[in-house]
Subunit: 341 residues, 2 copies
DNA sequence: GTGAAAGCGCTAACAA
DNA sequence: TTGTTAGCGCTTTCAC
């Protein structure tokens, strides 16, 4: 009942042998006399010996822990990604330390500092929407801590990156709207310092160009992900002299809120205005009409990120990887016009 | 540019003093000559000295890390709770290690084992819906690791607990439905090994009794939180000889899905059937009609849990606490009948 | 006020 | 095959 836990020293004392022998027997990969090994294992079992991870950490200067920095856990996209990361990490015997940047550069920097101070073996990160510089990542590279960026990546850094095809899927979504006969397609675009947002906007614009639709500034609204002003933006769009007949929203919550406002203003969805979301939240299946959206492979992106990171942790010479995980267009009724051209 | 980080030994060598003096100067609370202290701090600053947390951990047998076990991060309730926990923990200089039990007893047990192996200083936990025993928590108590249960608590254990008034709020919600003139109120109840679910069911039943409504077995459906069978349950309720005219759902997702099915079957909400949700998800504001629900104080529960835990970590003799954080009934149109009795 | 030495629990190089 | 020793980076007695 002593609250002190048992150490190899205790086992050694009991058997009258040295602690190095005990250490060797316990760590499998050294030659120890079968007899003594057996005895050691028995005693270890009896005393319910558990190696002290803290001692190992100090000795080996690693922690079997990976750090994760994401903007926020309440965002379903990241919550799912965490699931994928943890799955892979836990199977490999790694713990996961999670930090939230709350979309703030300074918090992200502090998170990073504290993860480094905790000597995590590697870091997976999706940068905050506010972050427009990369100097705070230098410390990781300096300390040779493996790092994988996912989703919100930084192409300018020479590190592993896991991302999805924002440009292509945005292109495909816009093209889908065009094929439904939509002529004036508006977009709620994200923060332009984010690579993803730029790609999405480019995909949208290029699809319009391909089909000879003019790209109008007034149809492009710049927002952030928290969507505080969606109602205002929606009203703005409704009141345009040339009201759009389709809108590609920044995410499903914005899309649903917009639908709400459109309906209150007597607009029919999708015939007066088609609505396409982004993120495939549960909510989209239960609104009227059900929301078309883009399914982002967040769980898989998390899992893939963890796999790449672990490979780099285990072998410092493992190559930097850039991996694409594809998104998918999910067509429901909010963009499905009966009267296609 | 050496990748080895600087230690107190380095500083000592440079100044030609002993490392104990350096240690003392750096750890504030010992008397060191003003002159030498100043020099030490200067050099430390110059070399950008960072104490090695691993060495400290071993020495002091603690890690400045708290462990958190929750059923799943994709559940918005828990995602928000994590936010509250992290806020408080980070301000106090603690890191947070998060594990998901995926609603599985065995995973929960493994999570616990791995957190203990990592020597977390304390644990915050919300038990899985599958967990119907407490033996796996003994290890925590044995090792005298402070623990706080939140939301999904275990009243039978002598530990700190943070919970909300499930009974009272469920009573209030049911009473609200009665006051709207509902006569036959059904409930989608949760797993009965969960304390919360039992309390909610009891609140529901007692409210009915108080107002002389009979409690009918056929109006009580037992479900789990993932809600795979909601559509089936809904159809079952619709087809009852005495169709209910109100339903108190297990959570907002279930409520929204039920509304969807009700509407498809030509039922008007709330006049044919009123719907009350649970959890106050964003989704509830944007469905037709907007969903009445219960707002659970998840962020606050997380924050309060962390505060209690930290108090117990800092002072082992700090008292066990049981703290109630109140929920709130949010009335929207899905339960607001114009024709009250 | 400062230094020497021991120790947290473990591993690993070197000796025997 | 096993024991001795040193050391990971830090704190903390105990001398001086």
């Amino acid at each position: 009942m002593s609250s002190r836990s048992v150490t190899i020293k205790d086992i050694a004392k009991i058997l009258g042998i040295s602690k190095s022998t005990v250490s060797r027997a316990l760590s499998e990969h050294s030659d120890v006399n079968q007899e003594t090994r057996k005895k050691i294992l028995e005693v270890a079992q009896q005393l319910n010996y558990q190696p002290n991870a803290l001692a190992l950490n100090l000795k080996q200067q690693r922690t079997n822990t990976i750090g994760v920095i994401i903007p926020e856990t309440v965002n379903r996209f990241f919550a799912k990604a965490i699931g994928g990361i943890q799955r892979v990490a836990n199977l490999a015997g790694y713990n996961v330390m999670i930090c939230q940047s709350d979309e703030s550069y300074i918090t992200e920097k502090n998170n990073l500092r504290s993860l480094i101070a905790s000597h995590v073996d590697g870091v997976i990160i999706s940068v905050s929407s506010e972050t427009d510089r990369t100097d705070h990542f230098d410390l990781l590279l300096q300390k040779k801590i493996p790092v994988v960026f996912f989703d919100r990546i930084r192409e300018d850094l020479h590190t592993s990156q896991v991302y999805t095809d924002n440009y292509e899927i945005s292109f495909a979504g816009t093209e889908h709207l065009i094929q439904q006969g939509c002529q004036r397609i508006a977009i709620i675009a994200g923060p332009q310092n984010l690579h993803n947002s730029r790609n999405r906007l480019n995909g949208y614009m290029d699809a319009l160009k391909k089909h000879d639709r003019p790209v109008k500034e007034s149809y492009i609204v710049h927002s952030n992900f928290t969507g505080g002003n969606i109602e205002e933006y929606t009203r703005y769009l409704i009141n345009l002299p040339q009201r759009p007949d389709a809108v590609f929203a920044i995410n499903d919550y914005a899309a649903v809120e917009m639908m709400h406002v459109f309906k209150k203003n007597g607009l029919k969805i999708p015939d007066d205005i088609a609505v396409l979301g982004f993120n495939n939240e549960n909510i989209g299946r239960f609104v009227e009409p059900p929301l078309s959206t883009i399914d982002l492979p967040s769980y898989d992106m998390g899992a893939v990120s963890a796999e790449i990171l672990l490979a780099q942790i285990r072998d410092a010479s493992a190559p930097i990887q850039r991996k694409l995980v594809k998104s998918q267009l999910i067509i429901r009724e909010s963009t499905h016009r009966i009267t296609t051209p």
